[in-house]
Structures are given as C-alpha cells and as structure tokens.
C-alpha cells in the first residue's frame, strides 16, 4: 500500500475518497448523529495515516483494519475507559510484505464478499447488524440464520497462513 510505503499524501487522499463516505454511512447506521459521525471519520482517517507503518497487508486487509479502528473509536467514545485490546505483535520494521500472501488474502476477502452478497436478504441484514454492533453475543449465538461458519470457511486458507505466521512471531 502506497500510504504505508511512502507516506504519500496523494495515495492517502485516494483512500480517503473511497473510505470516508462509506465510513460515514457505516457510522450513521449505528445511530450516531451526522456531526459526530464526521468527527469519528476524521479521527479514524487520521489514525489510518498515523499508524500506516503498522499496517501489514500480508496479515490484514485494509477495509478490515479500518473497520477495527472505527469500532474501537466508536466504542471508546461511549465509555470512560478504552476497550481492552490484544497485545500487539512485534513486527520487524521494514520487512517487505509477501506479495503472494497479500494477493491470497485479497482473493479470499473478495470471495467472502461475494458469499455475503449472495446470502438471502435476511441473512445479509443479520450480518450487517452483527458487525455494526447491533447484536449481543447471545443474539449472535442464538440466531441460527447467522452464517458465521461461512465467514471462517471462506477465508480458511488465509487463516491457516495467518496462524502459521503468528506462531512464528511469538
């Protein structure tokens, strides 16, 4: 990703043009007002820029990473304390991401996207609700229509590679 490699403003501007309106749409759907939604968009996009060097495209997908930053930001806004996050893995600085792995992850994410888009409308809506934070864990576990298995099976290979990589990093 060019933002990561060259801290290139032009690349960041492009990323902003693609993600910022979607992020705002996403945040609005969680019931946040428009002004506050833009405030969150601004903070999330700034975090993306500031943490770009920590982003490893062979281990994560850019939209997955931005989703995570956005949810953390939204949740922290409604709490006094910040939400518990896992330890960060030590990353070798300046290691080139493995291109085949980046591509593999992209392909699997695309397959997952396709699978989710092909779900019945009710199921797709339920996926949206779950990841927008509208369902409790009890609701997620009792709603039989929620295809959590699909999510894991579509990125199974990626998960295996990830596990393997992560084990090496410990």
């Amino acid at each position: 990703m060019a933002v990561r490699d060259h801290r290139d403003r032009a690349a960041f501007a492009e990323l902003f043009d693609y993600f910022a309106p979607r992020l705002k749409g996403f945040i609005l759907r969680t019931g946040t007002g428009a002004a506050q939604a833009e405030e969150i968009v601004q903070e999330v996009m700034l975090t993306v820029w500031r943490k770009a060097d920590q982003f490893d495209p062979s281990r994560a997908q850019v939209s997955a990473w931005i989703y995570q930053i956005a949810r953390n930001r939204q949740i922290d806004m409604f709490r006094k304390e910040s939400r518990p996050l896992p330890e960060e893995l030590n990353q070798e600085p300046d290691t080139e991401p493995d291109a085949s792995q980046v591509l593999g992850l992209e392909q699997e994410a695309a397959r997952l996207k396709e699978a989710l888009n092909n779900l019945k409308p009710e199921q797709r809506e339920m996926i949206h609700q779950a990841y927008l934070g509208e369902l409790t864990h009890k609701e997620i576990s009792t709603r039989t229509g929620l295809p959590l298995g699909t999510i894991k099976s579509r990125i199974r290979l990626g998960l295996e590679r990830l596990r393997h990589d992560l084990k090496d990093m410990r």
């Binding site: 979607r22 997908q61 850019v62 990473w65 989703y67 939400r83 989710l116 990841y131 864990h137 596990r163």
Partner: protein, 211 residues
C-alpha cells in the same frame, strides 16, 4: 509451550470484533487472543467480515471541508500511547487493568486469593489464585462466567483446562474446579452479572472459606 485446546466461541469472537461484549468479557477475549494465535487469526476473519460490511454501506456525502481539514492535520504531532506489555504470566490487557503493577492479592481463605480488576453494572473481572491440588467449591456465579488460565491448570466435570485455555460456563453449570498439581493455578475470571461481592459472594464463601 502447551497447546491451547479450549478456544473462544465464534459468537463471542464476532461480538468482540463488533464491540458488543460487556467490558469484563472483552478483557478475557483480548487476553486470550494475546496468548493464542488461532484465535488471533479467527478474530482477523471477523475483521475481514466487518470490513466487507463497511464497504457495503451506502456512502454518505461529506461536509465540503472535511477532506481538506483532515489533509491539513496530517503533519500535526500526536501522542502514540503504547499498549501495555506482558509482564511475567500477565498478558498486556491484564497489565493494563493492573495499571502496570503486580496484583495485590486478598486472601479468601484456604490459600485461595483474589484481585478484583473491575466491577460495574456490566459485570466483574478478577484474578484468582488457587494453590496446586486445591478445590474451589462452586462460587455460585450468576449469568455467564469466563475463566482463562494464565498459569497452572484446573479440571472440573467438563474437562481439563491448561494454561491459555478458556472455560465458558453458564449459570447452570455446577462446577467444582480443582487446581492441577505443580504450579498454583492463576486464572482471569469474568462474569456479566453485576458483582454482589459485598453481599452474595462472601455470604456463599463464608461457610466454605471461614472468612
């Protein structure tokens, strides 16, 4: 290094990714993920799904000056708050709750000790210290209880839980965990029921531990 065999249920990992877990459970999940590469990888799968949902959301139009404002702010200095690091057997998320200090154990009797990490209407989280070979009579938790082994092991009717293993017990489970031989068992335990330590639990523990 022991192999972890009891992992986070998918529904809980999805709820953690979406941020809807009660804080005490989120602490246990973040701690297990810090110890378990399988669950870290699965969590990433849920982030990918979240990213798909994000990309799928209808774009909303932005205020005309938002982009320019953000671009203007790119060079501003910022504080990068480092995440707390593991210390000994305590992973980063636990160290954060302990504010970087070692646990201050309070005896519960019979050599069992605890350190309360948090307690609110969302539930509670605490560290438990159980001497090797010692039984912990059922503590009568309300609601769901998550127990993550940080050191040593314990066994109950449902199985053996070694370091890194996570037990998910609903309130119907009448379990009597027994710490394994060897090192004392140190666990991170969380419930989603409001902790009524000042009334219920000591009352229950009183005859058992003779506090």
């Amino acid at each position: 290094m022991t192999t972890i065999s009891h992992h986070i249920p998918d529904s809980m990992l999805a709820a953690y990714a979406a941020g809807t877990l009660p804080a005490p459970f989120a602490l246990v999940i973040a701690t297990h993920v810090s110890m378990c590469s399988d669950c870290r990888a699965s969590l990433e799968a849920h982030h990918v799904a979240g990213g798909v949902v994000l990309e799928d959301c209808a774009p909303a139009s932005l205020s005309s000056d938002l982009k320019a404002n953000v671009l203007d702010m790119l060079d501003q200095p910022f504080d990068d708050v480092p995440r707390p690091k593991r210390s000994g057997i305590y992973p980063g998320p636990v160290m954060e709750q302990l504010k970087g200090k070692p646990p201050r154990w309070k005896p519960l009797g019979g050599g069992v000790k605890q350190t309360i990490l948090s307690s609110s209407d969302e539930g509670s989280a605490r560290l438990l210290f159980i001497p090797a070979g010692q039984a912990v009579p059922d503590h009568g938790h309300n609601g769901l209880e998550l127990t993550l082994v940080l050191q040593g092991s314990f066994s109950d009717d449902t199985g053996y839980f070694g370091t890194g293993d996570l037990e998910v017990a609903d309130e119907d489970l009448e379990h009597i965990p027994i710490a394994g031989a060897g090192l004392p068992c140190i666990c991170l335990a969380a419930t989603d029921a409001p902790l009524r330590f000042n009334s219920l639990v000591p009352r229950l523990l009183q005859p058992i531990f003779r506090i």
